[in-house]
């Protein structure tokens, strides 16, 4: 067990830094009622990554080049999904989530079709959906760590103005310039889907803030801090648990630990 922890220490550290970045971003996305839109965009990134893998494999590009090149295809398709989704719901105050859900289902079907068209994509499909932190190389872990630190720094530095913007958008209906927020969110989403998978990304984004929303008497700063801490702690604990119980898949274990621990904290504060 200790030997395994020693092997995966960089991966655990990288995940424990990326997870709070995703959790804090998820607080702002949920506050802007963009959870379903975000799942849709993440599904776009998934499709883009699969398309990239399929095309590059078909063109006999070396596997080491495929891994990093597909971030670009994931980013392109997620940007397309983001703008197409926004066009679809422009000027609609209600039923936005129905449109995004429809788009999500279409993209899900497209991902399945792509995996059927290009040979040997099934493994990649499962990898992109459910992820596997244990398969990250040291280089991947180092990149994940740096990306996590950078995004975390940006989120911690500008949390106040982000909350103000979220409030103005949702409560007062005042448009705010969201360009840098959208751009960094899209980049982080694509990176996260590509490196640690759709499930890890979506869980870290929305499980902590949603479950902590059930707690009574937790203030804004405590909510943000607890979201970040629970995400980070759950990655370390979930990963360690899956190393101990080797038959358990890593990411679903992390998600389960995250849900149980966050719900425990929320319920301990009363509803």
């Amino acid at each position: 067990m200790l030997a395994l922890l020693s092997i995966y220490k960089f991966t655990i550290l990288a995940g424990a830094v990326l997870a709070p970045a995703l959790a804090l971003l998820g607080c702002q996305l949920a506050a802007r009622d963009r959870a379903v839109q975000t799942l849709c965009v993440a599904q776009g990134a998934t499709l883009g990554v699969l398309l990239g893998i399929g095309v590059l494999h078909y063109s006999n590009v070396a596997e080491s080049n495929v891994h990093y090149s597909t971030i670009l295809s994931g980013f392109m398709v997620s940007v397309l999904t983001f703008y197409a989704g926004n066009r679809l719901v422009a000027h609609r105050l209600s039923s936005r989530n129905s449109y995004f859900t429809a788009l999500f289902v279409i993209l899900l079907a497209a991902a399945s079709l792509v995996s059927a068209v290009f040979p040997a994509l099934e493994t990649h499909l499962a990898q992109v959906f459910f992820g596997d932190l244990a398969t990250l190389t040291d280089r991947d872990s180092a990149i994940t760590f740096v990306v996590g630190v950078l995004v975390l720094f940006w989120l911690v530095r500008s949390w106040r103005s982000m909350v103000d913007d979220s409030f103005s958008l949702m409560i007062l209906g005042l448009p705010r310039s969201e360009r840098s927020f959208d751009f960094i969110s899209l980049l982080l989403l694509c990176f996260s889907v590509q490196f640690v998978g759709f499930l890890f990304t979506a869980a870290c984004l929305f499980v902590p803030t949603t479950l902590l929303g059930l707690a009574r008497g937790i203030g804004l700063k405590a909510h943000l801090l607890l979201c970040a801490l629970m995400a980070s702690f759950s990655v370390a604990m979930g990963f360690a648990f899956s190393l101990w119980q080797t038959h358990l898949p890593t990411v679903p274990t992390i998600v389960f630990v995250l849900a149980v621990c966050t719900a425990g904290v929320a319920l301990s504060r009363g509803r």
Binding site: M170, L172, L174, P175, G213, L220
Partner: protein, 201 residues
């Protein structure tokens, strides 16, 4: 802040026309000038385009034609629209909305008690929410305050508190107010009004 000659209007609107997003004409031929120290009262029936006029004034809705000249930077204009949603995902308290934690500065406007700063936005009453939003705008030291139905759905006490705060805001003579409302106190001075939905504007 830009220094204005007292005779220059801070806002000048000429022959303004605007429509809904679907293209239905809401109002046309709207002209007025607003000087510092003045209050503009916007009236009209439901659906006449009062809220849209305010959104045109703050640059959130593009007019069909006409000119709109601001002589103050956008940062000196505060706008409080009607609430789009009442529930917010994050656990904000009323104090989180304010740009300062200085209790004396907050209490100066007489809208919020220190004990109310810890109230959660999601469980605060409509009156407490409106008073918090107005305190936020007043603490930003704006020169022009634009309010959409600030007295709607308020109890008598909240209404009086807000009217008093607004009276203080315009009393100094170096601020202007634009209000969509039917409940303006009779003691407000330098009051102008436009009525939408009528032929004359």
């Amino acid at each position: 802040m830009q220094v204005l000659r007292t005779e220059s209007p801070v806002l000048e609107v000429s022959e303004l026309a605007y429509a809904t997003q679907e293209g239905k004409l809401l109002a046309k031929g709207i002209s007025f000038q607003l000087h510092l120290g003045e209050t503009l009262l916007v009236g009209g029936a439901n659906g006449a385009g009062k809220s849209t006029l305010l959104r045109v004034l703050v640059g959130q809705h593009r007019p069909l034609k006409g000119t709109l000249t601001h002589r103050l930077p956008a940062s000196s204009i505060a706008y409080i629209p009607q609430l789009q949603n009442t529930e917010f995902h994050l656990p904000l308290c009323l104090g989180d909305l304010l740009p300062t934690t200085d209790i004396s500065a907050i209490s100066e406007w007489g809208l919020l008690e220190p004990s109310q700063l810890a109230l959660a936005w999601n469980t605060a009453s409509g009156g407490e929410r409106k008073r918090a939003l107005l305190t936020r705008a007043l603490l930003q030291h704006c020169s022009v305050l634009i309010l959409d139905e600030p007295f709607n759905h308020l109890d008598r006490e909240s209404k009086i508190q807000i009217q008093k705060a607004l009276s203080r805001f315009i009393a100094a003579g170096d601020k202007s107010l634009i209000v969509v409302s039917h409940d303006v106190p009779p003691d407000w001075q330098r009051l102008k009004s436009i009525r939408l939905g009528d032929d004359e504007c």
